[in-house]
Subunit: 219 residues, 2 copies
DNA sequence: CCATGCATATATGCATACATAAAAGAATGG
DNA sequence: CCATTCTTTTATGTATGCATATATGCATGG
């Protein structure tokens, strides 16, 4: 056979599937995610669904009440500002450390991802744009060569997605917040390429705060 | 009946039980934690054990290999320094925010915990000392009134425990690193009481770095 | 004697049945 | 007519049996 499709574990499929449902806006803040329903939709038993939901809960993507189930978090703009302020701090540190330890092949991949980002934005393909943006922040987190910082950075990104998916779309346009993203990413990459760690930190902090202001300015 | 024991969910009992086994040093770095063995020891089925292990894995307390199981992480001093540097940053921020939002009743509880801390240290009761120390950092994390910062702070504390439990005992004495802890906690509390956020941050950063240096100075 | 392939053992991944707790609704008493 | 309590409903929590992937050891061939 030509295709070398490795059979993915059901738990991972469940995680990806539920995440997909969330960012296709099949649920709203406060909505209840029933295990049986999800297991029916995704074509598997409750076990991997439950484990995926647990993971999302611990990562902060979902609220969970004992013996009740999982819910899409109802978040306030005030909380959102706290999250993005923390993200600015953490991802600023990521950029700072990446500027010191990032290798050339990683830089190339980051540039490539940023090109895809730009292309998806041009094509107005929201799904691909989200993926490329996520890939950029995740690969940068990995480039910092610090397992603890990487984990925290990825988790905060996931949590921020809740705001991007819901809040942002209610008050402003996603496109508005995205339109300057690729060029800001470009600036960050240039600082890292120059091994200017302090500048990389500042550029990243500004990028995160800019993203926050897109939905944080409405209350 | 006098005691109002609410029946704890098995998953929580499993989590607490496994954590207890870890900090009673029943396992060493690299050791394999077999689900069936744990379910036998803790007197429950594999299901809650598996869920507790998943939680610990996501929190970074355990390594997990697909279709293999969970292991006590094998960590290096180099990684340890990265972790404690990050903790200094995060808990410094916790202290800073707590200094602005901490209420009087919380302050009283923090002082009370610190007294227990001191007492446990005097009695050379390692278990109670660990619990009191954990309670101090956790309650402070809650005092910051920032759900995201709280989550990150608690997770990093858990991960740091791995170093405290294993590394520290191999090279130095636990008592040595603990002996100045209550008075450092006292300084932090005083800064918070004075609403001096910047001083609270510095005091906390120094406290974390001090803890790190107890085992970070041997390589 | 070493390398490669296969068989077997073992522990996790998954599916399913049942137990249990929380919430909603009905019935009864004030 | 409202409040309280009991019943019923419903979805999660837990236990268990089977499927499956990984690793180990043995056998066989070069």
């Amino acid at each position: 056979m030509v295709t070398k499709e490795k059979k993915m574990p059901s738990e991972d499929l469940a995680y990806a599937g539920i995440l997909k449902l969330i960012y296709e806006r099949k649920f709203s803040p406060g909505d209840f995610l029933q295990e049986e329903y999800l297991s029916h939709i995704l074509g598997m038993s409750r076990t991997p669904i439950n484990r995926a939901l647990s993971k999302m809960n611990i990562e902060g993507l979902l609220e969970r009440k004992k013996k009740k189930g999982c819910f899409i978090p109802v978040v306030t703009l005030r909380d959102g500002r706290k999250l993005f302020t923390l993200r600015a701090m953490i991802e600023g540190q990521v950029a700072w450390e990446a500027a010191q330890s990032c290798t050339s092949p990683l830089m190339d991949r980051l540039c490539e991802i940023n090109r895809q980002d730009q292309k998806a934005l041009k094509d107005r393909d929201d799904g691909r744009y989200y993926m490329a943006n996520r890939d950029f922040h995740f690969l940068l987190a990995e480039s910092a060569n610090n397992r603890y910082l990487e984990r925290v950075s990825k988790q905060l990104f996931h949590q921020a997605s809740i705001y991007i998916f819901f809040y942002d779309s209610f008050y402003t346009s996603t496109k508005k917040s995205a339109i300057y993203t690729p060029e800001q990413h470009e600036v960050i990459l240039q600082c890292i390429k120059d091994r200017n760690a302090d500048a990389a930190r500042v550029a990243m902090e500004e990028h995160i705060i800019h993203t926050m202001k897109m939905f944080g300015s409405v209350d």
